[in-house]
């Protein structure tokens, strides 16, 4: 893409987004303090298809906040690449997006990332404050230290950013689009909740959950946008669901679904626990009925019950010795 086109695209997107200001949030004075044990969590399933109008995106996000508020959630989790649907305001139905070269996609993503980031974070901050909800705002593209990264962001109920986490395990497609992996896992936020967020493919690796658990995380949010045209339970269960069975935590998956610029996304929003902590022994506390569409699932989790189970699990299945793990994750000089 030539520099003129890049400039034009950036200016046009900023102009379109600037017409939509978020609501002025009410102060959180008077809001109830966050509970220490039993917390209600909401997980969003999002139709990621490009929006033709910016206010369609804002209305749907507001509706989801309103619904989470109505069912008394304390924590709300949005999916991976939440702001990307806004590009529909520039490229209405993504026509021909699948024919773009990797270099062009890379250029579009990098050019539009700053404006999308500002808009997305401004709205999520305002709505978190307005609804007094701790919010994992999903993930979006950001240029950080010159590198394009896919970053999850956490807001407290006053709308302040309390955590940012770039994706650690980027997919080969993302690498081709110029998205760089993060190098470190951030400390969890809001003790004693211990909320942390990772991004999509990070949940393929139990090591991510081990790191988070060692840092004190108890709730791990996983915004996803799985490029799977066909949803199967097996593939879905390989991620967060599997990892919390061996590394006990509350796993919260928020899924983007639908067609997004040539990609067909499927997935269910869900709240997962070790099977022993779910009433029916399934490991699934709440989950969307269908792997496409939009909505919210919610459930109450007990952090005290989880803490007791974590202690019992560690006693029953202790970590391997340090020298074993040092050798397993040894980084060779020539890597």
């Amino acid at each position: 893409m030539n520099p003129f086109m890049r400039l034009f695209m950036g200016v046009l997107l900023r102009a379109k987004l600037s017409r939509h200001a978020p609501p002025v949030g009410s102060p959180s004075d008077g809001a109830l303090p966050l509970p220490q044990d039993r917390i209600k969590i909401g997980a969003v399933q999002w139709n990621a298809e490009p929006v033709r109008r910016v206010d369609e995106w804002t209305r749907r996000v507001e509706d989801l906040f309103r619904e989470a508020s109505r069912v008394h959630c304390h924590l709300l989790v949005f999916p991976e690449y939440l702001p990307l649907s806004l590009l529909g305001a520039l490229m209405p139905d993504g026509t021909g997006a699948h024919t773009l070269t990797d270099a062009t996609i890379q250029s579009v993503l990098r050019t539009t990332a700053p404006a999308l980031q500002r808009f997305w974070l401004k709205w999520m901050s305002a709505l978190s404050r307005q609804h007094h909800l701790v919010t994992v705002a999903g993930s979006g593209l950001m240029v950080r230290h010159g590198r394009l990264q896919n970053v999850a962001v956490i807001f407290d109920k006053d709308g302040q950013i309390i955590g940012q986490q770039p994706k650690l395990h980027v997919l080969p497609d993302e690498t081709r689009w110029g998205i760089a992996a993060g190098d470190t896992l951030s400390q969890p936020s809001l003790p004693p909740w211990g909320v942390t967020s990772i991004v999509c493919n990070d949940a393929t690796y139990f090591e991510t959950f081990r790191m988070a658990a060692a840092q004190g995380a108890r709730i791990i949010a996983v915004p996803i946008a799985d490029p799977e045209a066909r949803y199967t339970v097996g593939k879905a269960r390989r991620g967060c669901f599997s990892q919390v069975q061996d590394v006990p935590m509350v796993g919260v998956v928020s899924a983007a679904t639908g067609r997004l610029f040539g990609l067909r996304l499927s997935g269910k929003a869900g709240i997962y626990l070790p099977a022993e902590l779910t009433p029916d022994g399934s490991g699934v506390l709440a989950e969307s009925d269908l792997p496409i569409g939009e909505g919210l699932v919610s459930a109450v989790v007990s952090l005290n019950q989880l803490a007791a189970f974590q202690a019992e699990r560690v006693a029953r299945h202790p970590l391997p010795p340090e020298d074993f793990l040092q050798a397993l994750y040894h980084v060779e000089e020539d890597r």
Partner: protein, 204 residues
Amino acid sequence: MAKVWIIAESELPPPRTGYDLVLWSTAILPSATQTQTWAGWAETHIIARTPAAETLAFTPHPRDWAATDLAMGNGRVWRFEDRYVAWLDRSALHVPEVGRALSMAGVELIVSDTDQRYPSPFLDPLWRTVQANQIYGLSLDTSPRLYWPCEIDPAEEGFQALEREPGGFSATLDFSALESARRLFPIHQGLRLDVYQSHGWWDR
């Protein structure tokens, strides 16, 4: 391709040929001589193991089949047709590092017997190990199951019940298909050893 016969009898059935590997989870082991002779007649590798982890293993030649005892978990590893097969206790697989270490060392089939019935295969730690490392798993109980990577399962669920036949069950494993799975979704290539090493969750 490797054709596997899982014996579901309390005694060794009459030997028959055409298999590459025979697995037998048994309450009581027969004598070593009887098992060795059986392997020779059946012209196959055989591993017989009790719940107490007493094990006999012979090659078709028939000779002792040399094994390495695992440092972690109660189990052993054998070299089989240029790859490795491990048989270990299911409880060891609740520590996912064990499966990771085995697969990174070249194990492509993990065998594990259990008396626990999992309400769903997705709750079986062997299924998780198989998916996390894109290897094969054989779960031996009253209804044995084959676990394999979702990428090479036409149903994309990563498991299938084994076919019943006289004397037990059989399964055919195409080890070269594992390479296809790893090409389609390169899990091991995506490991961030640098990040894990710098976080070192083991020294906290």
